[in-house]
């Protein structure tokens, strides 16, 4: 099995941007049906992102609820509706980081990471290659895991990720490069790719 980790999305405007902006504006207007559409469209991607950060279904569920409370209370004042996607993932990320800080304080541990939270053993992967990537991703440090998730699975552009993480574009590129290298190394070590 071979995997191609080339850069697949660019800085150009996503074709979904107009649809995202339209959805955000309908929500800002107060159309209740738009909120149903927003939840239907973004619940699963956000949940998967949070699941990737937390490595645990139940924790991801809690984080998802907290994220949606902030989304529903904050979307009315979203200044740039065209940036709905990075705004949503930015909120999810802050919720996850708040949880990390809370756990750090609660446990008093020095080296706690989100991936140290109890692992969920209910994973039922559908395909072997997805399972291999999933497993390899879960083993990566949180920074690399988040980078790959945002770029490949959530399809945010490099500029959107830079804005979301509040880091320079060059840092995003170098982190992404390192994350791809580490994922490839992990997969090679496990014999998933040759």
């Amino acid at each position: 099995m071979s995997h191609d980790f080339r850069v697949v999305n660019t800085e150009s405007k996503s074709p979904d941007t107009d649809a995202d902006e339209l959805l955000a504006i309908r929500c800002q207007l107060g159309e209740r049906a738009a909120f149903d559409a927003l939840i239907a469209r973004w619940h699963e991607p956000l949940w998967r992102y949070l699941r990737r950060l937390a490595n645990n279904d139940d924790v991801a569920g809690d984080l998802s609820q907290d994220t949606w409370v902030r989304v529903l209370r904050g979307i009315g004042s979203l200044r740039e509706p065209a940036k709905l996607r990075p705004w949503l993932f930015g909120i999810a990320r802050r919720v996850a980081m708040d949880r990390l800080r809370f756990e750090y304080v609660r446990r008093g541990a020095e080296d706690i990471e989100l991936e140290e939270l109890p692992a969920d053993d209910s994973t039922q992967d559908l395909e072997a290659d997805l399972a291999a990537i999933d497993s390899a991703l879960a083993g990566l440090p949180i920074t690399e895991r988040e980078m790959l998730t945002l770029f490949y699975l959530r399809e945010l552009s490099l500029a959107e990720i830079a804005a979301l993480l509040v880091v320079p574009l060059g840092t995003v590129k170098s982190r992404l490069h390192r994350a791809r290298r580490e994922l490839r190394h992990t997969l090679e070590t496990r014999g998933a790719i040759t």
């Binding site: 929500c27 800002q28 107060g30 939840i39 619940h43 949606w68 529903l72 209370r73």
Partner: protein
């Protein structure tokens, strides 16, 4: 890969239920009503307290406490509308209209009180009512402009999305 099923907190159904509570129009209207009633009550009590020259100390203390309670309710309603149940553009137009109607009635009542009694307190209530009416009209104008701007952008995007 796992999916957010109903077995876990944060499932699609959980989030939909959560949204129903968060988006409740009844709660928003409730906070707007609370804000207006508390503001009106505080205005009346404050006017009485500040304009009546020879109130007993006990009555003054009671007015002071009632004013503080009114201010607390106003603050709570403003906080709730800002942080917990922010008004969307359509809600803001409804709330602005409600506020204009309510404060107009309040001002009419104050004018009646001025005509009938001519008391200093009635003038105080009238002045406060006019101020509240001005704020309500201003908020309604801003809300209608924002709604119109968002609606225009929505139409533009719908055409754009429809073409692609």
């Amino acid at each position: 890969m796992n999916t957010p099923t109903n077995m876990h907190a944060g499932s699609l159904e959980d989030i939909r239920r959560l949204a129903q509570g968060e988006l409740s129009i009844r709660a928003r209207i409730g906070y707007v009503s609370l804000l207006m009633v508390a503001a009106a009550m505080t205005a009346v009590v404050l006017s009485l307290w500040l304009t009546e020259p020879s109130l007993p100390a006990r009555t003054q203390a009671a007015f002071c406490v009632m004013s503080l309670i009114g201010c607390a309710w106003v603050s709570f309603a403003l906080w709730a509308l800002g942080a917990r149940r922010p008004l969307f553009a359509r809600d803001a137009v409804v709330a602005g209209t409600m506020a204009v109607v309510f404060t107009s009635v309040f001002v009419a009542g104050a004018i009646g009180a001025v005509i009938v009694s001519g008391a200093a307190a009635a003038f105080g209530v009238l002045a406060t009512g006019v101020g509240m009416l001005a704020i309500a009209v201003g908020r309604l104008i801003i809300a209608r402009r924002r709604f119109a701007a968002l609606a225009a952008r929505r139409e533009e995007l719908q055409r754009s999305v429809g073409r692609s």
